[in-house]
């Protein structure tokens, strides 16, 4: 077996580490494995899992596998405040950029104003007397005395990483470059983030914050990556980036901020790849977990944003536009002082979890999952493949308490809990679709994660969608996505060009020499980076977009490089905002390039029909109130078969509801396609 054919994707989540391995052409082309995560040292579970699949797939000592890893180390370091000690270097007078932020408060009505924590403490923010102007002109050069003293000051602070973000460095990076060279020489072990290198774009707070996040997560991420690279081999390990592509170890060490959405990005990449195989280009991904729900829109391609956040901090590198709301299976239901039934954002979390897990005490509170148990949607005996039995009476007790407070009967209350949870999710989907000018009727809802299948059809109906897709391994989708993910480099360059409208009404954007020059330079840089990674030219492409706006606006729209950019900008502006302003000058703010090296897609095995199975035997029915459901194990469904709702389909890590009026079919790979109105 040639060494390059074994590919392994490893996704480390809070509870489980998911592994999926692919050997194209082998008798068993896909192997999946799930083991408990080891939060104290995530690499333990990662390496153990890799060893396990190698033993099962390549026992004859084949060459090293190519590993793609989705890691939450960076995000966790940040959210748990366990990042490294870092410093920030700014232009003198702007040392407090991170602490002033945008000067607003997060909660309009808080009597006690609290601002989100800043990842670099104030005493670690150092100003240097230098000044570059908006057009790149140097008003004041760096001062020798300050440069000489800088390494000593940083050493005295005991920092492991430093972010350098000087005013207008995107227009002229000379001062940052000078500092980079100085620090590399004087403090070779220090991790240095230069803002023009990571994010050469205007808006000093957002740029500095992105660099600060990078610096803070770098020490821990670096150590973690070294540990894995030692065990796996530096060239055989790639890390899943938030933008939907994988990155080499050294690139990730340098700019770990690109991995803050590593796992969720894998899920969206996997969803789009599988949806395409099923014949769908436009999907809304719907990943409902215990405490939150992630949704993303793919309109034939991933939707990227440069307005992302991690917790309270802006992280302005391109990442998949994943919108998260605080409603999940563990969200707690209650009746508030005003008499409204509320669900979330409080959550029972993974531990003790919903009351039906039977792990909590007397004062357990009702969750969305408990409501499903009351309604019979979750089969107590089949939860996690029967490994865990759900405590039905506990679920009835806690939902019953809510019913009493609400003055409603038990089943109405349970249904109400689901309705309220779903209205939050409907809002989340609308934010990324309808509010951005998309018609949901053109999209299929692609659901994964533990709880998604319980809500998908109901949610689709509320949104006017008639198709729901459920992949074969809904609990492993992030890892599946990592097998498909291409190598990606994100590059950008600030332009700040104002182009007046020509007599025909449109500014001459397409032919602007500075744009063409910047685009070419970025494309060449992108190809060089892909060449370095030995991606053959036929699998390389560089997608260039231009962030533009009407001169005077503040939010840019991303327009792919090509003919008629000004016209396409106006069309998009009209679609998104319902208005446009013909004849106005356009401002080209940033040109961005996404250099992509495509992977050869893994071969997914067909679903083998089980000749022995007896559908009638596999199907049971239950009745709750006036609702009757058929219940069947997913494995009992064969390819190209059609089953009509109402039906509950159970499998190891999730349950799918097929309500009345919906029907399910399986594609040749075992992915489920659910249609409303009997459409086949």
């Amino acid at each position: 077996m040639p060494s390059s054919t074994l590919r392994i994707a490893v996704d480390t989540g809070g509870t489980f580490t998911d592994i999926i391995a692919s050997v194209p052409g082998a008798a068993r082309p896909i192997l999946t494995h799930k083991l408990l995560s080891t939060p104290d040292d995530p690499s333990r579970a990662v390496l153990e899992g890799i060893r396990h699949v190698i033993q099962h797939l390549a026992p004859d000592g084949a060459g090293p596998p190519a590993v793609v890893h989705g890691s939450t180390v960076a995000t966790n370091a940040l959210l748990e405040g366990k990042g490294g000690a870092a410093a920030l270097i700014t232009t003198a007078g702007f040392e407090d950029t991170l602490h002033i932020a945008r000067q607003n408060r997060p909660d309009l009505y808080a009597l006690h104003v609290q601002r989100p924590p800043v990842p670099i403490r104030r005493g670690h923010c150092l100003g240097l007397s230098e000044r570059v102007l908006y057009d790149g002109e140097v008003l004041r050069p760096l001062v020798d005395d300050e440069l000489e003293a800088l390494p000593g000051r940083l050493r005295a602070l005991g920092v492991e990483a430093v972010a350098v973000s000087l005013l207008h460095s995107y227009a002229n990076p000379a001062h940052e470059q000078q500092l980079g060279a100085l620090l590399a020489e004087a403090l070779p072990d220090l991790h240095v983030t230069l803002s023009h290198d990571l994010l050469p774009e205007f808006r000093e707070y957002e740029r500095a914050a992105t660099c600060a996040v990078n610096a803070v997560v770098a020490p821990r991420m670096g150590a973690y990556l070294e540990q894995l690279a030692d065990a796996i081999g530096r060239d055989d390990l790639r890390i899943m980036g938030s933008g939907g592509g994988t990155m080499a170890v050294d690139v990730t060490r340098h700019h770990p901020v690109h991995t803050v959405l590593s796992g969720p990005a894998g899920g969206v990449v996997g969803a789009l790849a599988l949806a395409r195989q099923m014949g769908f280009e436009r999907i809304i991904t719907f990943d409902m977990g215990g405490t939150s729900t992630d949704v993303a829109l793919c309109d034939g391609a991933l939707t990227l944003t440069t307005e992302g956040r991690v917790g309270p901090l802006p992280v302005r590198v391109p990442m998949i536009d994943i919108h998260t709301v605080g409603a999940g299976g563990g969200s707690i239901a209650r009746v508030d002082e005003g008499g409204a039934l509320r669900v979330g954002p409080e959550s029972a979390g993974a531990w003790p979890g919903p009351a039906c897990y039977g792990r909590s005490s007397e004062n357990a509170r009702a969750t969305v999952t408990d409501a499903h148990v009351v309604l019979g949607h979750l089969r107590p005996e089949r939860f996690l493949g029967g490994r865990m039995t759900l405590a039905q009476e506990a679920a009835h007790r806690v939902v019953g308490q809510v019913a009493e407070e609400a003055g409603l009967d038990l089943l109405t209350t349970a249904r109400g809990v689901l309705q309220v949870a779903e209205v939050t999710m409907v809002r989340a989907v609308k934010v990324i679709s309808v509010e951005r000018g998309h018609d949901l009727r053109d999209f299929a809802l692609f659901t994964f994660g533990g709880a998604g299948g319980l809500h998908a059809c109901r949610l689709a109906a509320l949104l006017g969608m008639d198709t729901v897709l459920v992949p074969r391994h809904p609990g492993l989708l992030s890892a599946v996505g990592m097998l498909f993910a291409p190598c990606v480099h994100n590059l950008s360059r600030s332009l700040m060009l104002t182009i007046p409208a020509e007599p025909d009404g449109y500014p001459a954007v397409d032919t602007h020499p500075q744009l063409a020059q910047a685009a070419q330079a970025l494309e060449a840089q992108g190809r060089a980076l892909l060449d370095e990674e030995q991606i053959p030219a036929e699998r390389q492409h560089v997608d260039v977009t231009v962030a533009m706006r009407y001169a005077g606006q503040s939010y840019e729209l991303e327009i792919p490089l090509g003919p008629d950019m000004a016209q396409r900008f106006e069309e998009l502006h009209r679609r998104l905002y319902g208005t446009h302003n013909p004849g106005q000058a356009l401002e080209l703010v940033v040109v961005r390039a996404r250099a992509v090296g495509e992977q050869l897609p893994p071969t997914l095995p067909p679903l083998e029909p089980d000749e022995e199975r007896d559908l009638d035997e596999a199907m049971t029915t239950i009745a709750v109130g006036d609702a009757r459901w058929g219940v069947i194990e997913r494995d009992a469904l064969g390819p190209d078969e059609r089953q009509e709702g109402p039906l509950i389909i159970t499998e190891f890590s999730s349950t799918t509801l097929v309500p009345e009026g919906w029907a399910v079919t399986l594609d040749p790979h075992g992915n489920m396609i659910l249609r409303h109105g009997g459409a086949h």
């Binding site: 003198a92 007078g93 702007f94 040392e95 407090d96 950029t97 602490h99 002033i100 945008r102 000067q103 607003n104 408060r105 909660d107 309009l108 009505y109 808080a110 009597l111 006690h112 104003v113 609290q114 601002r115 403490r121 104030r122 102007l133 908006y134 207008h168 205007f202 808006r203 000093e204 957002e206 009746v335 002082e337 005003g338 008499g339 409204a340 039934l341 509320r342 669900v343 609400a406 003055g407 409603l408 109405t412 109400g416 309705q419 309220v420 209205v423 409907v426 309808v434 509010e435 009407y550 005077g552 606006q553 503040s554 939010y555 998104l576 905002y577 319902g578 208005t579 302003n581 106005q584």
Partner: protein, 528 residues
């Protein structure tokens, strides 16, 4: 009306809120004025046929309570049967539904099915960068409304009106873009409300709206009921009115009885010659804000908030100014002092809850001139600068943050220097020592502007002579300071001033810090 269904109540809370928010996003994304797009000085509301708010997306509290008055003014000018489905009413007249002239409000009726009168109204308000008047940015130290810019009494927004409004502005294209953005958001709101009525039937939607208002009212009554009954008096002063009149007193007599409150501000000083007058709408917003702060963070902000509260003002006073009073700064400065006196009174009713005074000023700066980099094109820059938050029983006050009636973002220095012909030389947290106490007040900001071309600067600031108060033994916060450095000479500037600056001049605005809370300082409770 039957009792509200707990499930439907919650579902409609989300449905209404998402419409208002979607309107807000559309407005912000497509607007031109930095005040709207960068600083989010705008709001969108859904209003019922009685001009009571159903839901709103407001980023700054000063817009909160005043939307109903805009709708009322529009309805007075155009009674229900005079309106037709495609009408949009525009206004900014502080004496007819507005607050100050830069805030332009659009109100549109939402007709449902084939009904002959509007069932709902949709409105939005946005702070335009320049609406004419004697200084660029339309925030002058004025002596009457006529110096402050174009005054729009409620009228239909047609092409002619748009052209007329734009003509009055120093930056007409920007006005047109902003009005288009506001219109787009209005159309979206009307469309979404109609869709909601198609899906649920108009009577159900109206009933749910009423139930939500009732829900908020119940919670507010519960909260007021927990305050100790009594009469609480508090007063504080404005530094000056910008024309030489100093120490303008604002008085609050708060009566709490059961689950109702009566806020009487009628002992406040008379209307002044300068621009610090506020119209009654601003008082209503401030009362709405102060009481809303006592409620849970996610309480739906609708007409129910104010139902248990009676607001009394005296026509002709500083805070219920009558035509033709100058009002440019009432919205931004006087509004903050009204909140200070409301909280000063509330602190007596709920001493373990209420924070010391915050910065107490929006620290307004307007810079206008001709940009030589753009062939002498006129420009108008407006910004508010944050200060320190008051310490509270829960802990120290936050540094460098907008408090109370505003929450606008700063303009990024890099964006500002691209757009305007001056520089920011420093933007940092002040090293001030005020606001000591068991918990320390937050520190203000120092922002330094360096001019490379001649320009006209207007400062509308407060708390330069009277410091933000400490509470429960906490010390007063540090006062603010405005300083001009010109040809080597440093000059202290008044709190409110218009001046011509020359190339090479430097202007430093230092904003006030918050008051301290509690008398026993804790050892080592220093700022990090």
């Amino acid at each position: 009306m039957s009792a509200a269904d707990p499930i439907e109540l919650e579902i409609f809370r989300h449905l209404f809120a998402s419409i208002a928010e979607e309107m807000g996003v559309r407005l912000m994304r497509s607007a031109y004025s930095p005040n709207i797009k960068e600083r989010r000085d705008h709001s969108c509301v859904l209003v019922d046929a009685n001009a009571e708010i159903i839901a709103q997306a407001a980023h700054i509290p000063v817009h909160l309570g005043s939307a109903p008055m805009s709708v009322q003014a529009a309805l007075e000018a155009f009674p229900g049967d005079a309106l037709s489905p495609n009408d949009v009413i525009v206004l900014n007249d502080p004496f007819a539904g507005g607050t100050h002239l830069p805030d332009i409000t659009l109100v549109a009726p939402c007709f449902v099915a084939d009904e002959s009168t509007p069932r709902f109204f949709v409105a939005n308000r946005a702070h335009h960068a320049d609406v004419g008047g004697v200084t660029a940015g339309s925030m002058p130290i004025s002596r009457s409304i006529h110096e402050e810019g174009v005054r729009i009494t409620p009228r239909r927004l047609d092409e002619e009106t748009i052209a007329w409004i734009c003509e009055q502005s120093r930056t007409p294209e920007e006005r047109r873009g902003d009005l288009n953005a506001q219109l787009a958001a209005i159309h979206l709101g009307v469309q979404r409300m109609r869709e909601l009525c198609e899906r649920y039937n108009p009577d159900v939607v109206s009933q749910r709206a009423a139930e939500l208002q009732g829900y908020t009212e119940r919670i507010m009554r519960h909260i007021i009921g927990q305050l100790a009954d009594g009469v609480y008096r508090f007063e504080d002063v404005m530094d000056d009115d910008g024309t030489g009149l100093r120490d303008l007193t604002i008085c609050c007599d708060l009566t709490v009885r059961g689950d109702t409150a009566r806020v009487d501000l009628s002992r406040t000083a008379d209307q002044s010659p300068g621009p610090v007058n506020a119209v009654r709408a601003i008082v209503v917003s401030a009362v709405n804000y102060a009481f809303r702060c006592l409620a849970p963070a996610d309480l739906p902000s609708n007409g129910g908030v104010l139902r248990p509260i009676q607001v009394i003002t005296r026509a002709g006073s500083l805070i219920d100014a009558q035509y033709p009073a100058a009002v440019a700064a009432g919205n931004v400065e006087t509004s903050q002092r009204i909140v200070d006196v409301l909280f000063g009174a509330l602190a007596q009713a709920a001493p373990d809850l209420i924070p010391a005074a915050s910065c107490g000023s929006m620290n307004n700066i307007t810079i206008g001139g001709l940009d030589s980099r753009r062939g002498g094109a006129p420009y108008a820059y407006y910004e508010t600068i944050a200060g320190g938050a008051g310490a509270s029983p829960e802990g120290p006050g936050a540094d460098a943050v907008h408090t109370h009636m505003t929450n606008t973002l700063n303009t990024p220095v890099e964006a500002l220097e691209h757009a305007y012909p001056f520089r920011v030389e420093a933007y940092r947290i002040r090293n001030s020592v005020g606001g000591a106490g068991r918990f320390r007040g937050g520190r203000g900001v120092e922002r330094v502007y360096a001019f490379t071309e001649a320009a006209q600067v207007t400062l509308l600031t407060e708390r330069r002579s009277h410091a933000p108060y400490g509470l429960n033994g906490g010390k007063d916060g540090t006062r603010g300071r405005n300083t001009l450095l010109s040809q080597g000479e440093e000059r202290a500037l008044p709190a409110k001033v218009t001046l011509e600056v020359e190339p090479g001049d430097t202007l430093t605005v230092e904003t006030p810090g918050g008051g301290g809370w509690g008398s026993a300082p804790i050892e080592g409770d220093d700022h990090p």
